[in-house]
């Protein structure tokens, strides 16, 4: 479990606080979607969770250990796939053989399966790949480490259309009961079928912290004609198919697929 306890954080040289008295509890066996407008602190939160930044006040603990201590036992259990990452100019095989000793639960089988899903060969050279291929190779390695906590910052950026569904497949296949995945993204359509908990960040605080199940129980997401608009409608956006609507779910209403973009707009515009 990761506990964020009443943290405040600001970057040096900046006046405004990114987080102020912010608390959060994250649990295993969930895929969190971390959403927010630009500059609301999504990447900063991932850095704080990984121990790459130190809160000015409060603490971030991973299984009871302060993450900013960066202890090897903790780092063996956390993998951060940053939006921009550094890979050495070596073959994948060499990269794996040099780095796998640091991850006790590393699985060659998972690596091979992820590479196959991403349509990558095991004989690739990391210095000769395109940005998207490098990202897929890196994510395959990240999943193969089998760390308990996997944080991904804009994982689908730079991936082509088939790779986005491949990404969803590899994440879903490698999700285990003791694992927690946090995906920070603006590309909500790429991941909305994958997530089971939504976090929407606003300036310094959380606008939404709810499971997909809770959201589905509370709201319906549908298209309605102007004549169908009633008091249950909480938010609507005109589209070519009619009004995209979030409405209060009432007894007897069928469960609908969550429209994450609509939910995000509703929450950010009605705060």
């Amino acid at each position: 479990m990761i506990e964020v306890n009443n943290i405040s954080f600001k970057y040096k040289g900046q006046k405004h606080l990114v987080f102020d008295g912010f608390s959060l509890q994250l649990e295993e066996n969930r895929i969190y979607g971390l959403l927010g407008k630009n500059g609301t602190g999504k990447s900063t939160l991932l850095y704080l969770l990984s121990g790459l930044l130190r809160p000015t006040v409060g603490s971030v603990c991973c299984d009871g250990i302060a993450t900013n201590e960066r202890k090897p036992a903790m780092l063996q259990d956390i993998f951060l796939v940053a939006e921009e990452f550094d890979l050495p100019n070596v073959s994948l095989k060499e990269y794996v053989s040099l780095n796998r000793p640091f991850y006790p639960r590393f699985s060659e089988e998972v690596l091979e399966r992820c590479l196959a899903d991403f349509e990558l060969s095991g004989d690739i050279h990391l210095g000769e790949l395109s940005m998207g291929q490098r990202k897929k190779a890196y994510m395959s390695f990240a999943l193969a480490t089998q760390t308990k906590y996997l944080f991904m910052d804009e994982p689908t950026n730079g991936l082509d259309i088939p790779s986005k569904s491949q990404f969803r497949k590899v994440i879903a296949q490698n999700m285990t009961d003791d694992r927690m995945v946090i995906i920070s993204t603006h590309q909500v359509h790429d991941v909305e079928q994958l997530l089971d908990h939504i976090l929407i960040l606003d300036q310094r605080s959380l606008l939404l912290n709810a499971s997909v199940q809770d959201i589905s129980e509370q709201y319906t997401f549908e298209y309605r004609t102007p004549q169908q608009m009633d008091d249950a409608v909480l938010y609507a956006e005109p589209t070519l198919q009619g009004n995209a609507v979030i409405a209060r779910r009432q007894a007897g209403d069928a469960e609908t697929q969550i429209n994450l973009e609509l939910l995000f707009n509703y929450k950010t515009q009605n705060k």
């Binding site: 790459l52 550094d86 000793p101």
Partner: protein, 285 residues
């Protein structure tokens, strides 16, 4: 889990060396080329032409003078070695300049101490051993050029080691050896500290800081001496009539030198432990 695990450290060191091998091979090539060019400069461009010297003063005298030229290459090699070591010290964390590099390195599942020691050992070995090997290789190339062009074959390598061993030979007191080693380590530790503190232009900024610090120290002691009327000029160690005389103040200076060296290394490690993925633009704080 311990802050230092020898097995994990050796794995980390191996990983670091193997993934940076293109860099150190490139450095090794550059060092060899620079020293070879310097060797050619000292033996062929500066001073007299060897054939002219033979013609003017005879072979024996020409060889004697040519040995001096080759000796200059050894001095250059030694100066290059010391500067390269300081350069390497100031570039201790140059592999963490970008945010993406920093993220990868800081998330590596090894302890802070191991993460600190890996680039330290890497840079000392790479620049120490690399520079020495490059010097000898450049010397061998220079000898090959001399031999193929019909010059006398005089190796610079024994002269290099002769200069290096002088503070350690039997005629030198242990105080001199300890002071020479201590002074070098003190400089090295200053560049290590500068390399940890400054995020950009580490070598330049550290050198400037040392020069400013030196001038401030001299100015302060000079002013204090003038105000108090105390003589601030004394010899803590001097060679008179072939005998080394060591003043008691030498031991205070030596203790301060080693103490400050240890303090610099420790401060550098502490700065590293506090490094974050996004720091000040110029300083790692």
């Amino acid at each position: 889990m311990n802050n230092f695990d020898l097995h994990r450290f050796s794995q980390a060191l191996k990983c670091y060396f193997m993934t940076s091998r293109r860099t150190w091979l490139r450095y090794f090539g550059i060092f060899t080329l620079v020293m070879f060019m310097a060797d050619l400069f000292f033996t062929r461009i500066q001073g007299h032409n060897f054939a002219d010297m033979v013609e003017w003063w005879g072979l024996e005298e020409a060889i004697y003078l040519y040995k001096d030229y080759v000796g200059s290459t050894a001095v250059f090699g030694l100066v290059f070695f010391f500067i390269a070591m300081l350069f390497g010290a100031s570039f201790l964390f140059s592999h963490m300049k970008e945010t993406r590099q920093r993220t990868t390195y800081l998330m590596w599942p090894v302890s802070n101490l191991e993460k600190y020691l890996v680039p330290l050992v890497h840079n000392i070995l790479l620049l120490g051993v690399g520079t020495l090997v490059a010097y000898h290789l450049a010397d061998a190339l220079r000898v090959l050029v001399d031999w193929t062009t019909g010059r006398v074959v005089i190796w610079g390598s024994p002269m290099f080691w002769d200069i290096v061993s002088r503070p350690f030979d039997d005629s030198a007191p242990w105080q001199l050896t300890a002071f020479v080693i201590g002074s070098y380590l003190w400089f090295h530790s200053l560049y290590i500290l500068g390399g940890s503190l400054f995020r950009r232009q580490q070598f330049l900024l550290t050198s400037i800081a040392i020069v400013i610090g030196f001038f401030l120290f001299v100015w302060t002691t000079h002013t204090l001496a003038e105000v108090s009327g105390v003589n601030n000029r004394f010899e803590f160690m001097a060679l008179h009539d072939g005998v080394w005389h060591v003043h008691w103040s030498y031991y205070i200076i030596l203790t301060a030198e080693y103490g400050l060296t240890a303090l610099h290394y420790w401060l550098s490690y502490k700065i590293f432990c506090r490094m974050q993925v996004i720091n000040n633009k110029w300083l790692n704080v």
